[in-house]
């Protein structure tokens, strides 16, 4: 490894070697290397092939602005080699190539380019339409980026954090650091986001400014008010200063990537500039790189980017880089500067001292060499004279482009500014500020002062305006050099060859001309037609040049350049990072462990884990039989349970329940239902009265989370005095059901449980071995049953007591499958199974629950219940019996004749009845008893099952068993 290890600006640790595998061979670099710098240091110059023409591509930027260095790393495609840190043992492969990118077998595509104009695929495969499906296969094979295996599983650990801050600063360069320090000095909590692994930005690779950047960074890093996130790229910026970002782990972090969501009172965007690519023939040939790329390679990574270079630049940063690279040992043959005048003369003098010719008003016209740069031709911008140079490196840049994404995403506009040549952010959203180089400042003092001003303004957003402090900061900035004149947009006179405006999509200037000739005169449209800026790097390469080319070359009447729209994610983000740690947000009942031990097959039902069945039998036949003949015990703790109380409680209950709730007696339950405003049934449950204006009610499991919200919503205008307490998690529920249920319970309860003392639909409170329970005599499964509500902490103890008491009566667990069959046999419905969005109270046969004497305006859904009571053409709930008991229709299968007439809600083979029965929603004309139905399961071509509409309930129609 041949690095310039003596530079104090280095960010690698040369003593710590890192080895990766590339194309099957080991490559060694240093800790701190990116994949791209490690490979570049190891002699790799061609990193991949372009999307359309398979042109060789090399290291061009170091900021991830183009897809040139996208590679597959450990099977993960499209990893950005230039921004991803190398780690020991990484296996790296190039993409979109057959074999070594230096000798790609698809390279012939480049020769086909004359027959592949812009919009070629659109036009060529437009007609006939049948051509496209065939063509797409070939196109996809030749074009495209990385491949992902359908069996690929993302490795690594992902995390997410949600932060609040007074001030969030995006960009850890000099302006951002100054802003963070100013806000911190005002006593505010600051978050600073920086995409590189270190702070410093514009200062951190430049010999005269490195120390200054370092001392700023030291102050920021030791400031207790500032939390610094490096390796953190902003994804999006939204209403009211919501900033999303993701952070790459440094190798020792507990995560590989972490998603950040930050809410800040004020935001400072100081994202600086990227370089505007220079447009000339073959401007993306390996060996052409941006100024900051060449400069950072040597200063940050200690790598000489080449041996003999020609510079074609457009601002003083280019002159400075040429001098510094020359000082560090690279041969600089000459510097072409598109500016005819206006250079920093001190830099020009130093170039002259070193004997490096400076060609003012000259620019690169073409690069030559295959596959790497061997030659460059320079030309005067008027095209009169030209010269050629043999070289292995062309350092090219046309000026700067501000990075305004975080501002425009939040709603800022962009206005073309003729002095800087920038699209400057204007009409910034409230409490959002811009600072630094993105505003056109290039003087280091001015950049810092601009950051300071933004920090003071952000502090005012949080602490209240302090005009004098803002004025002072404005004055300090006003005394310094203002925004500099930007580099003019110039394309050298190009005779032949491709000039790429977008590397990712292989879009050339000629393609843009073709689009304009085709009538697309606005950048947004040209972008779509030519695909410029739609690749992985988005606007990184073409974002500035495309609108300038369209707006300033007189090709379009739309003379004021208009930028294209930036959208999130600003930086490509792994879906895994969005998913974060992906915690399973679920709940377990107090009996979870116990049921698992008893062989319970647990499954997710909404937010809960519940036992579907115990043992291997999917039909749960033994559990069903035991409930019908002995006694079963079910954990029903997931039921919604609420206390509602207060002077106006009955008004509130009458509002949401269809019944008249004042009819509830203190020792009996009242069964009722809730509808929405459309009269559609949304819930059912029971209500008990526990005291004066004090009630306890249950909801279905699925409504537990939204019932309080529902009741408060429908009483929101009333100012009624009542309160709701959600007791769902505070209470567990045991359902003890079967002919032996009373015998079991009598052994342990301190109350008279006889049918006279505690009849069906009765409510009692008593103790079981001193455990206080609220007992309800219900019959959901159609047998004698007791539903015991008990404090969650008592659940395991009570369960054990009852299991022991029931042992002699054959007690055993039953799960959801058994319950589902048992209640279906009894014709009891589950809201959501036997009803859907459109199903009214009448449709399921519960219309009798509606108390019509109540004022309609007082009851949610009453008006619609009246409107739909006798409405024709509705789906009605009926019982069905399959003709062939062995052929049970599947839940959800459709009932048909010439068209769809309904569907099966639940159907099972009933061992109790030795028939296949179920419930279905059918059109009212088909609802009469005895109607023959045809059921289509969609299995075989047109096979239909026959069924008949039969009366419900199927089991114990007189209801004797639950009243035993």
């Amino acid at each position: 490894m041949n690095r310039l290890n003596h530079l104090d600006t280095l960010k690698i640790r040369p003593d710590e070697s890192v080895t990766i595998e590339y194309l099957g061979k080991p490559f060694q670099g240093a800790a701190g290397d990116t994949i791209a710098t490690l490979l570049y240091g190891g002699g790799v110059r061609i990193f991949g092939r372009s999307l359309k023409y398979h042109r060789p591509r090399g290291l061009y930027s170091l900021n991830g602005e183009c897809s040139n260095t996208l590679m597959a790393v450990d099977g993960e495609p499209n990893v950005r080699g230039e921004t991803t840190e190398a780690r020991n043992g990484m296996v790296v492969e190039p993409q979109n190539v057959k074999g070594d990118p230096a000798r790609d077998l698809m390279g012939f595509m480049d020769k086909l380019s004359p027959v592949l104009p812009a919009g070629f695929y659109y036009k060529m495969f437009h007609k006939p339409a049948s051509l496209w499906p065939k063509a797409i296969k070939g196109i996809r094979k030749a074009a495209g980026l990385g491949k992902i295996s359908p069996h690929f599983t993302m490795k690594g650990s992902f995390d997410e954090i949600y932060l609040n801050a007074d001030v969030c600063v995006i960009g850890g360069g000099p302006a951002g650091m100054a802003a963070a320090l100013a806000a911190s000095q005002a006593g505010l909590r600051v978050i600073l986001l920086e995409s590189r692994p270190w702070l410093g930005g514009f200062f951190d690779y430049r010999p005269g400014l490195y120390d200054r950047g370092r001392s700023l960074a030291d102050r920021v890093e030791t400031d207790p008010n500032i939390r610094v996130f490096t390796r953190t790229s902003v994804i999006g910026s939204y209403t009211d200063n919501l900033i999303t970002a993701f952070c790459r782990g440094d190798g020792s972090d507990a995560f590989d990537e972490r998603y950040l969501e930050i809410r800040a009172k004020s935001v400072v965007t100081s994202t600086g500039c990227i370089e505007r690519p220079l447009l000339f023939a073959h401007n993306e040939r390996p060996g052409v790189m941006q100024i900051s790329c060449a400069h950072r390679l040597i200063r940050t990574w200690g790598i000489l980017p080449g041996t003999s270079a020609v510079f074609s630049i457009g601002d003083d940063l280019g002159l400075e880089a040429a001098l510094d690279l020359a000082d560090l040992g690279m041969e600089i043959q000459c510097v072409a500067d598109v500016r005819e005048d206006g250079q920093n003369e001190a830099l020009a003098d130093r170039l002259a001292e070193k004997g490096i010719p400076l060609f003012r008003g000259w620019v690169a016209a073409a690069s030559d060499g295959d596959p790497k740069v061997k030659r460059v031709s320079l030309t005067a911008i008027n095209g009169v004279r030209s010269r050629e140079f043999e070289c292995d490196l062309i350092v090219a840049g046309a000026g700067q482009t501000p990075v305004t994404g975080p501002l425009t995403l939040a709603g800022a506009k962009q206005r073309f500014d003729r002095r800087t040549g920038f699209f400057l952010p204007v009409d910034l959203p409230r409490k959002m500020h811009a600072a630094g180089r993105m505003l056109g400042y290039i003087d280091p003092d001015a950049i810092e002062a601009s950051g300071d001003l933004a920090g003071v303004k952000a502090a005012a957003d949080c602490n209240g305006a302090d005009d004098s402090k803002i004025r002072e900061a404005e004055e300090r900035l006003g005394d310094l050099q203002g925004p500099a004149r930007g580099t003019k947009f110039i394309i050298g006179p190009v005779k032949t060859g491709k000039t790429f405006i977008c590397f990712d999509e292989d879009t050339t200037v000629k393609n843009v001309d073709q689009a304009i000739a085709g009538g697309f005169d606005v950048p947004e449209l040209i972008k779509r037609f030519t695909a410029a800026g739609t690749g992985p790097g988005q606007g990184g390469i073409p974002g500035h040049n495309l609108p300038l080319y369209v707006g300033l070359t007189g090709q379009s009447p739309d003379l004021d350049p208009r930028p294209t729209t930036v959208r999130p994610p600003l930086t490509p983000t792994l879906i895994a990072a969005y998913a974060g740690s992906n915690h399973d947000m679920s709940k377990r009942t107090p009996m979870h462990e116990e049921q698992v031990k008893a062989g319970g097959r647990m499954e997710r039902v909404g937010v809960w884990h519940r036992a579907r069945r115990f043992g291997d039998d999917a039909a749960a036949a033994a559990e069903i039989e035991n409930v019908r003949n002995n006694v079963g015990i079910l954990d029903a703790s997931t039921l919604g349970k609420f206390r509602i109380f207060g002077p106006d409680v009955l008004k509130a209950l009458d509002r949401v329940y269809v019944g008249s709730m004042s009819r509830v007696k203190s020792d009996r339950m009242l069964y009722s239902a809730m509808c929405n405003e459309d009269g559609c049934i949304i819930d059912d449950g029971v209500l008990v009265k526990r005291g004066e204006n004090d009630y306890y009610f249950t909801t279905s499991t699925g409504r537990a989370g939204s019932s309080a919200e529902w009741i408060r919503y429908h009483t929101r205008y009333e100012n009624w005095d009542f309160h709701i307490v959600n007791l769902t998690d505070a209470f567990g529920v045991i359902n003890l059901a079967g002919p032996n249920a009373r015998k079991t319970l009598e052994k342990v309860a301190d109350a008279d449980l006889s049918n006279d003392a505690f009849p069906f639909m009765g409510y009692r409170e008593f103790s079981i071995k001193e455990i206080p329970v609220r007992a309800m005599r219900l019959g959901f499964v159609g047998e004698l049953s007791f539903e015991l509500h008990v404090a969650s902490s008592w659940m395991p103890a009570l369960w054990k007591i009852i299991e022991e008491a029931g042992a002699e009566f054959g007690i055993r667990h039953f799960g959801l499958e058994a319950q589902n069959v048992l209640r279906m046999e009894k014709g009891h419905l589950i809201i959501g199974s036997e009803s859907e969005q459109r199903t009214t109270l009448h449709d399921v046969g519960l219309g009798f629950l509606w108390h019509k004497e109540k004022r309609e305006a007082d009851t949610v859904g009453a008006a619609a219940l009246r409107h739909t009571e006798n409405q024709e053409g509705r789906l009605k709930l009926v019982g069905i019996e399959a003709q062939d008991p062995q052929q049970t229709p599947r839940d959800g299968s459709i009932i048909v004749d010439e068209k769809i007439r309904g569907y099966v809600a639940t159907a099972r083979y009933s061992r109790t009845l030795e028939k296949s029965v179920g419930m279905a929603l059918v059109e009212s004309e088909l609802a009469d008893i005895g109607t023959q139905l045809e059921i289509f399961e969609g299995e075989k071509d047109d096979e239909r099952l026959a069924a008949t509409v039969v009366p419900m309930p199927f089991y114990d129609p007189e209801g004797r068993r639950l009243r035993m």
Partner: protein, 87 residues
Amino acid sequence: MALTITCPICGARNGYEFRYGGEEKGPKPDEAALRSPEAWCDYIHFNRCKAGAQEEWWFHRDGCGAWFTIHRDTVTNREIPGKEAGI
């Protein structure tokens, strides 16, 4: 939902904590108006969908559980500051 919403009890909080409850339309019309299915349907289902300042209901689902109204500019998707929230 990225916006912040000012709950009258909890103050300005992340919009993701709340559930939207529709435009403020006033209390339900009286009994007579509900007699016609059309009038009832208009009240329940029709919205003004105003572009600009709108009073609307929000529920502090992951918070205190209050229903209240705010004024929001539907064009900028921002709460209009200064307009007092009401219950």
